[in-house]
Amino acid sequence: MTVVHYLNQFFAGLGGEEAAGSEPIRIDGPVGPGRALAAAGLAVDVTIACGDDRFGEHEQESLETLLGWIEELDPAVLVLGPAFGSGRYGYACGVIAREAGRRGVPVVTAMTPDSPGVIAAEGVAYVVPTGSNVASMKDAVPRVAALAKRLAAAEPIGSAEEEGYVPRHRRENVRSGRTGAARAIDLLLAKLDGDVRTEVEPSADRVLPPPPVPDLATATIALVTEAGCVPQGNPDHLPTRHANVWLRYPLDGVGSMSPDAYVTVHAGFDTTFANQDPNRLVPLDAVRELEREGRIGALHDTFYTTTGVDTPVATAVKFGQEIAAELKSADVSAVILTGT
């Protein structure tokens, strides 16, 4: 019975942020938190690891390598993380768990319930909810080990409420025995009788509107865009679609989005008008005017950009959380986000 454990660069002992670009590696036996899993009764045979940035920026390639190893090892269970509150690490765990799970490998991972990795896992993996930092390792490890052992033994796992994992909202295709047409008529007539039922609902991932900015004249406002607006020449190679990165650029001393200095690389719309005047996408000139007039305290000195076409929801959630974290630590009060 083979157990494989996935870690990021930090927990695999490769280093911190400076090692976030590490390519996938494979190590015999348990490493770091893997030893804690072993102590909790789950012997780890092989550890695989990848840098969080490496995975985020080279997802297809990294997945191919990691899934290749997983397929070769044919584990009885694959454990990923715990990733706690790290969005990038959680995202990688979620994606790998989903892909391995869809190929028939039992998977269990652990992270905060609002991690983009939960969305990325698409209900395929069992996700053990954790606190946001490594302080909850002691609590998470035994729960992950216990669930993993049962999965490896092909034991049936109960519902999310019974077992304490994050609800999976997994949808399974079945033949209903009645055509959609017959069901539509039944549901519609029931609705007319006051009995409103549906076979599918949107996910309930909602954030309440934050309270209004109390005093704009003292507030710092930031500009963010998914319109793919970048300096001419796209020096950092923002992808034109299916973006795997967001970028930041300085706005110090920049009064307007001049067409000589900026361009949009978004593949999802006709960029002719936007490239004549990029202020049409990122209204910098107007915001600067209002800043000069004292209507806002200040425009944040950095603007954030990515391309929002063909970008998976989990990736977009990750970007939003990361950009928001930077803006919050820079005491930015509000964002004007523009989209196409």
Binding site: P202, D205, R206, V207, L208, P209, P210, P211, P212, V213, P214, L216, I221, A227, F269, D270, T271, T272, F273, A274, Q276, D277, N279, R280, L281, V282, P283, D285, A286, V287, E289, L290, R295, I296, V313, A334, V335, I336, L337, T338, G339, T340
Partner: protein, 66 residues
Amino acid sequence: MFITALPTIAQMVGANRILKGVSITYPAGDPSLAVGDEHALRRRITERALEMLSTDVGPGTVWETP
């Protein structure tokens, strides 16, 4: 807040302060206007955005720029 020409999608994904943009290809502008008029439009859009940021709203609120 979010300036976009597709406010229904913005509502669906959970944005709360949504300002309807002019067009998919130019949310904060209008190339059919003379330069001065377009600039004035962009200023009004941006002012409306600031107004939305300083107003209490319910979930999925969509405003337009008069």
